[in-house]
Amino acid sequence: MNLTNYLVLATILFTIGALTVLVRRNAIVVFMGVELMLNAANLAFVTFARMHGDLTGQVVAFFVMVVAAAEVVVGLAIIVAIYRTRRSASVDDVNLLKS
């Protein structure tokens, strides 16, 4: 098996994550789509690290994980704050700045 298969799997997962962000209306599900895209990018990083015989790709994937953890904390806090004021977790209901 060629290592390209891993890359194809990563692109498929990335596409499904992007599709989730485009299609779904629930903010939490949209957020999980973003997480799926980050994971797909990590898989590509790990595969490239193996192709090049260099561990830097794994280190970058590690940093992606750390930043994703920070991003999840802030993002979910924003979702909870919006839900408390608007009683809705739908991304379409957050339109106060629209005039």
Binding site: M1, T11, T15, A18, V29
Partner: protein, 285 residues
């Protein structure tokens, strides 16, 4: 754990053959073709799941499979971190917020706008086609494998780079994590606008309003299946509607005394028939 990971990395026989042949071992191929369809189907579950909790669990499945693939790809450290950080921390945080926010009625796939949904689907499929074609037409690198880089064990190799070349990045990421934690606390902090109502205030308000001070009567004098759903009878023979729990009343699941009593024929009761028929319609004396 470090020695465990190192031995796991060293025990993989894949490493030597990969650089020579450019192909992975048969075992890894089987593993990949077992996990890849599962991952794709679970990821599609994220798009099509009607309940948010199902979507979250399918993402958890994808992430666990990814951890297995990392270990197979000579990155056991990342595999363990993936399980701990993503499935252990991030997805559980998602589940907590799901429980906090509650399940939204406008939550399903079908509530997306009609045209918007199809345009999004076309765009997504197009993006996938472009990405896959780019990957397939790219110059195929001869894989060199990580046998040399993982000679001292994968965590050791990763640590050398993290604390060597990327040490400034590591410091910045540490600051970022602290900032994110403080930011989450600030964002979810709620100022108390009114005075807190405690048990004492509730009791005072109750006395001031002249409501019932004693506990409500217990339901279910004549119930046969579930005592909670039939009203108790007062001293006058009248059913006390407020003895049935409020939730059952709101749901319309309460039963009248007459309804239950209808099942109690004289033959069913046997030797102790009721001395007078209680239908819930007696006059108050």
């Amino acid at each position: 754990m470090t020695t465990l990971l190192a031995s796991a990395g060293a025990a993989l026989p894949v490493l030597t053959s990969l650089a020579e042949t450019g192909r992975t071992s048969t075992g890894e191929e089987v593993l990949f073709w077992c996990l890849a369809p599962v991952m794709v189907i679970a990821a599609l579950g994220l798009v099509f799941a009607r309940r948010t909790v199902y979507a979250a669990m399918s993402v958890v499945l994808v992430m666990i499979c990814l951890a297995v693939l990392y270990v197979a790809q000579e990155a056991p450290f990342l595999g363990v971190v993936q399980v701990i950080v993503y499935t252990g921390a991030v997805m559980m945080l998602f589940l907590f917020v799901l429980m906090l926010v509650g399940v939204d009625a406008a939550d399903t796939f079908t509530d997306a706008l009609g045209a918007h949904r199809w345009i999004s689907a076309v765009l997504g499929v197009g993006l996938g086609a472009v990405l896959v074609s780019v990957v397939l037409t790219a110059a195929d690198l001869a894989p060199s494998g990580l046998a040399a880089a993982n000679a001292d064990g994968n965590p050791v190799g990763v640590a050398r780079i993290v604390f060597g070349d990327f040490v400034v990045t590591l410091e910045v990421v540490g600051i970022l994590l602290v900032t994110a934690a403080v930011g989450a606390i600030v964002l979810t902090h709620r100022e108390r606008l009114v005075r807190r109502v405690r048990q004492r205030e509730r009791a005072d308000a109750r006395v001031a309003a002249g409501e019932t001070l004693t506990p409500l009567p217990a339901p279910g004098v004549y119930a046969r299946s579930n005592a909670m759903d039939v009203a108790a009878l007062g001293p006058g023979g009248r059913p006390l509607e407020h003895s049935v729990p409020r939730v059952l009343r709101v749901r319309g699941q309460e039963r009248s005394v007459g309804e239950v009593h209808a099942h109690l024929g004289p033959e069913a009761v046997g030797s102790t028939p009721p001395e007078r028929a209680i239908t819930g319609e007696e006059q108050v004396r």
